[in-house]
């Protein structure tokens, strides 16, 4: 079975995978961390990743599919090089999240949920990201940007698009 799989982790992540398995009393528990590891490598979870994780964790592919569809951070379709998440929940909304989202949409020429034509940026809305006291905020890939003004958002976007 292993030989027919078309997804493989790079050697560094392969080692990380072993480390993940060592933390739990069974293999299934590694399912979510392993999906993250795979997604880090190719930005989304396709059927090959699902088959890979199912085999490694010794669970049916249906189980892994169930997991992937449950959690909003697993991308079930390709996404842009960068992901921008705009928090829109109450504390952020009270401090201008709406305006911030519209600004991003206008600047990037896309609606939230979409990716720019050049494949650079996917814009998304997020639910409360535990930064309510520093609202409004966005998350760009792994980085939080807090206490944002529209000018600051422009700087962040410039840096991303410029790259």
């Amino acid at each position: 079975m292993g030989s027919t799989m078309s997804f493989a982790l790079n050697p560094e992540r392969e080692r990380e995978m072993e480390d993940i398995f060592s933390r739990y009393p069974n293999k299934q528990a590694a399912c979510i961390p392993l999906l993250h590891l795979c997604q880090e490598q190719q930005r989304w979870v396709n059927d090959d990743v699902i088959a890979f994780v199912a085999e490694k964790c010794d669970v049916p592919t249906a189980h892994v599919k169930g997991v992937v569809t449950f959690y909003s951070l697993f991308n079930q379709a390709p996404v842009g090089e960068h992901e921008i998440w705009v928090c829109q929940t109450l504390s952020c909304a009270l401090r201008g999240a709406d305006k911030l989202l519209h600004h991003c949409e206008k600047r990037l020429g896309i609606h939230h949920g979409e990716t720019t034509k050049d494949g650079k940026i996917t814009l998304r809305v997020a639910e409360c990201l535990a930064a309510c006291g520093q609202a409004p905020m966005i998350m760009v890939d792994k980085t939080y940007h807090e206490n944002l003004s529209l000018e600051r958002v422009d700087e962040i976007l410039d840096a991303l698009v410029g790259k």
């Binding site: 993250h36 189980h63 998440w85 929940t89 109450l90 009270l94 990201l129 535990a130 930064a131 309510c132």
Partner: protein, 449 residues
Amino acid sequence: MLKPVKILTKNYDTPDSHKLQVYQSSGGYEAARKALGMTRDQVVDEVKKANLRGRGGAGFPMGVKWGFMPKDGDKPSYLVINADEGEPGTFKDRTLMERDPHRIIEGCIIGCYGVGAHTAYIYVRHELHLSKERLWGAIHEARAQGFLGPKPFGVDYPVDVFVHTGAGAYICGEETALLESLEGSRGEPRLRPPFPAQRGAFGCPTTVNNLESIASCPTILEMGGEQFSKLSSLHKFGDGGCRLYGVSGHVNKPGVYEACIGVTLRELIYDLGGGMPEGTNLLGVIPGGSSCPIIRPDDIVDAPDPKSILHEWHGKPQLDVPIGVDTMRNLGTMAGTTCAIVLSDRACPVLAMHNLARFYRHESCGQCTPCREGTGWMLRILDKIVQGKGSIEELDMLHEIASNIMGNTICAFGEGASMPMLGFLRKFRKEIEDYIRTGGSSSTGRLAL
């Protein structure tokens, strides 16, 4: 009464506060060393005396919970730390992870010993990348020192700590959903019984505690449980210690602040939070995360019965009641995570309801019909109202739907989704009806200032 302290936050402003050396130079890990020299019963006893009410929202006494864990048996036990921090308005646990991760690791050692576990999993929401990095860093440092591993402080009581992450689902903060997620499944809450102390992670006895609850353990051991409890002015109600408060929304100084328990909502807004922005007035405050019903500044305590725990505040504004698990419950709301969301009169209550209804609709796990369908109906009714197409009859329907979710679901998410709706309906009925009658022109039309 406002008594700011720097106990949990004492290292926050020290450079490199996340490093072992800094933590140890302020007395770090001495409490864990002390705990491992005591008996397990003695440790649990100190935690019971501390009257620490769970900081994750439900306010259950931590020592009592630890006492549910079996003393013997052929299965291992687990300690699971809830750092999923997803309740809208809540942003306190993150500061501990980023700025004092060793306090959490030390708390895990004490916690493992207290509940009879040798492994702790810290379940951190995936988006908190810096938190995870800091926790792993602290784990590695503590392992290298021998504080974690086979013989912490030379005592034959192995302790290991691991970070586990979710993947974006608010419901995984609910403790049984969290356990499902830890086991590699969809985060669907479990029916109780069995309770986690009987059958939790991997079918084994498990204690789930909030991250701030666990981070308080070193202080409890250091001060002694009773001293810790007495920090609080609600010590007499079995609500002890100090805790982190958050304030967000329309205040001048949003942020996380530490104080002894006994802080009132007014103090949280006007003293810690720096008051309302100029030219605005307080419309209402959601005391401790979005699931808690809102309080208005003109709400008065009605407790003529001398036996009521609220009696001493009878006739006073509710804003002047100390925020405690039981005081807030008696007011018909909750202390929750003590992270308050403040709304000024610039914000439209209908839009606030709509924002929260959207959140709960999005986050329902879908297992129970009343929750899955009810959150959808509530959102659709509010969608119509916001668009100026709602009717008063539908408002009554909204009330009925929310009431029907209560008590009819597997987990407390159902209450969490309906209580804020019922709260807004009770407190802002007139404003909402005006909105409907005028098609929205009575509203400020906004949430932001």
